[in-house]
């Protein structure tokens, strides 16, 4: 596992390296080369269209009237844009409440994850103690365990505690440092030169001082990556909320969507269902567009650990 030693999160993967390699080809501009590149471009365009089409389909349906939804062939641009499908999203069922619930859970878990994981990752990356590497292997091993193995006893425990139909089972565990985020942050901390720590120590900083004055400020991109991954995961998470939340005022958006799909007013009203789905997918999509570079970084770190 070289990744453990290797500073994995390279801040800027030289984006034009591939370009540099192609440069001699470009200058030659052989017919074969042009053909090949044209072919690649066409495939990428067609595939890209296929990636976008479901999104456009969803948005298009969300503005249609009940009649227009069931027209064949479908119109991509609705005759009238029915914004009332969106306002109805918050009146037929209290989706405002569901969004609030989802936000409370996702944001609380995000805070818990960032706080607990950064401290634990710092210890694993910088402090020496007997048994440290063995413990880190245990941490990596827990990532392999499928959640189904532990979910039943965990559920029973929360049931004994009377936590069913509260947010606690979905928030509290995030304060106990999940393995994946610890791993990601540790990899990043390892890539920060230890000389930085030494400089802080000479200035009289202790263990915590070094952490807060050196590592935290230098790791903002990595912390943002962990925060984003955590938020996105919890925002669309379904299995846990399905088990733990059962009254209507506690439901998260995914649970409410699934519940609503099986009701009379939901299954028959595709435009409304799509409007709610558009709103549900808006936060992840917006976060992705505004924080793209953190995504790519997180992918590079976690993806190249093989």
């Amino acid at each position: 596992m070289t990744a453990l030693e290797r500073p994995a999160m390279r801040e800027r993967v030289p984006a034009n390296r591939a370009g540099a390699r192609q440069a001699p080809w470009l200058l030659r501009k052989s017919v074969q080369e042009r053909l090949w590149r044209g072919f690649a471009l066409v495939l990428i365009l067609v595939g890209g269209a296929a990636c976008l089409l479901p999104f456009l389909w969803m948005v298009s349906t969300s503005f249609k009237s009940q009649v227009e939804v069931y027209q064949f062939p479908p119109r991509w641009i609705p005759r009238h844009f029915l914004w009332r499908n969106y306002t109805a999203a918050f009146t037929i069922l209290p989706f405002g409440r569901f969004f609030l619930n989802s936000a409370i859970i996702a944001i609380s878990s995000m805070i818990g994850t960032v706080l607990s994981c950064s401290v634990v990752a710092y210890a694993f990356a910088r402090l020496r103690a007997p048994g440290r590497d063995a413990l880190f292997l245990v941490l990596l091993a827990t990532m392999m365990l499928p959640g189904q193995v532990t979910i039943i006893p965990v559920y029973i425990t929360f049931r004994y505690l009377g936590w069913i139909n509260t947010f606690k089972p979905l928030i509290v565990p995030s304060f106990f440092a999940g393995a994946f985020s610890v791993f990601l942050l540790r990899q990043f901390f390892m890539s920060i030169p230890a000389e930085m720590d030494d400089a802080a120590k000479i200035d009289g900083a202790g263990v915590l001082g070094t952490f807060f004055r050196i590592l935290v400020p230098m790791s903002k991109p990595a912390l943002a990556t962990v925060a984003i991954f955590s938020f996105m995961g919890d925002w669309s998470s379904f299995f846990g909320p399905l088990l733990y939340l059962n009254s209507k005022d506690k439901m998260t958006v995914p649970v409410a969507l699934s519940f609503f799909r099986n009701t009379q007013s939901g299954s028959g009203n595709m435009a409304y269902m799509m409007a709610v789905s558009v709103i549900a997918l808006l936060p992840p999509v917006l976060i992705f567009f505004f924080a793209q570079r953190y995504f790519i970084q997180g992918i590079v770190v976690t993806g190249l650990k093989g």
């Binding site: 990744a3 192609q22 590149r37 690649a40 479901p54 401290v119 103690a129 996105m232 093989g306």
Partner: protein, 306 residues
């Protein structure tokens, strides 16, 4: 108290060790509460019959023998999940690799296209399942509309046909092929340019460069995508729960969906725990198989054993 494994008392090293154990406490507690204890508890539960109401009854290995010998739905769910996994994972791997190679051809606006392709991977869960439910609608859905546009025939009843429901789920899983692609692309851009230049001096053809440089250099990433793909796909739940409820005639009864029903609908906590452990063994079996095979086809740069 004499703690022989710790560094000498009063030294800096000793204090550092104390800090280490202190700072990793969130993870240690989390490991004990949410991993170690549930594992032991789950093993014991799998040897019992328990409906959460009456007191648990030890039954030896009968939960396991019942699943393996007397429960046709267990085998059905295992079969469905295996077909889905070994149908979707290889296609996704091949497509991800192909698209990454296309993307790496100095295509204009590459970051833009990468964003488009990656976009479906940032959304997941119930909203996406409901979107695809609408796409697969036999009369008014997007997919059959496209089939009608191209072939002028009525497309099939995707989710209502036993033999088409899994292919439909595989099509749906292809939508997010960009997730794996981005990882491969990052690896491709890390391949040293000199390798290709040396091959060109030797007069290597495009295909030969692909086979002898590109594939070996990105094989660790393909390996990573394969392992995580198998592990994640075996645990698929949301699509089956929301879109088909396991139907028609159990043709999409995914393993975790069957486990969920046993635990939270039939309240067979013991039986569900046994199912969870069988799933663990199945996933481990395939993971180890891939790991064992990796020395044959995964190339690691450098001498260090990973």
């Amino acid at each position: 108290m004499h703690l022989a494994f710790l560094p000498k008392r009063g030294t800096m090293a000793r204090r550092e060790a104390y800090w280490f154990y202190g700072l990793i406490t969130p993870w240690t507690l989390g490991f004990l509460l949410f991993t170690a204890y549930p594992i032991i508890s789950s093993i014991l539960l799998s040897l019992m019959r328990w409906d959460l109401v009456h007191s648990p009854k030890p039954v030896g290995f009968s939960n396991y023998t019942q699943a393996l010998t007397r429960d046709p739905l267990f085998w059905q769910s295992l079969k469905v999940t295996a077909i889905y996994t070994f149908g979707s994972v290889p296609i996704r791997l091949a497509a991800g690799l192909a698209v990454a190679i296309l993307m790496n051809q100095k295509i204009p606006w590459m970051p833009f296209f990468r964003t488009i392709w990656y976009l479906p991977s940032v959304v997941s869960g119930v909203a996406v399942a409901i979107l695809w439910l609408w796409i697969f609608n036999p009369y008014f859905g997007l997919l059959n509309y496209l089939i009608w546009l191209i072939f002028r025939v009525q497309g099939p009843f995707w989710l209502a046909k036993e033999e088409l429901v899994l292919p439909a789920f595989i099509i749906m899983s292809l939508w997010s092929v960009g997730g794996g692609m981005v990882i491969v692309l990052a690896a491709l851009q890390g391949v040293p340019t000199e390798l290709y230049e040396a091959a060109e001096i030797d007069g290597a053809a495009r295909w030969s460069k692909f086979l002898h440089i590109t594939i070996p250099m990105v094989s660790p990433v393909i390996f990573f995508n394969l392992v995580t793909g198998i592990i994640d796909t075996f645990q698929v739940f949301t699509a089956g729960y929301v879109m088909t409820s396991g139907g028609p005639n159990n043709a999409s009864l995914f393993y975790v969906l069957y486990l969920y029903r046993n635990a939270w609908q039939y309240l067979a906590m013991g039986y569900a725990s046994a199912l969870a452990w069988i799933l663990f063994v199945v996933i481990m079996f395939f993971t180890v198989l891939v790991l064992r095979s990796s020395s044959l086809w995964v190339h690691y740069e450098g001498v260090r054993a990973r």
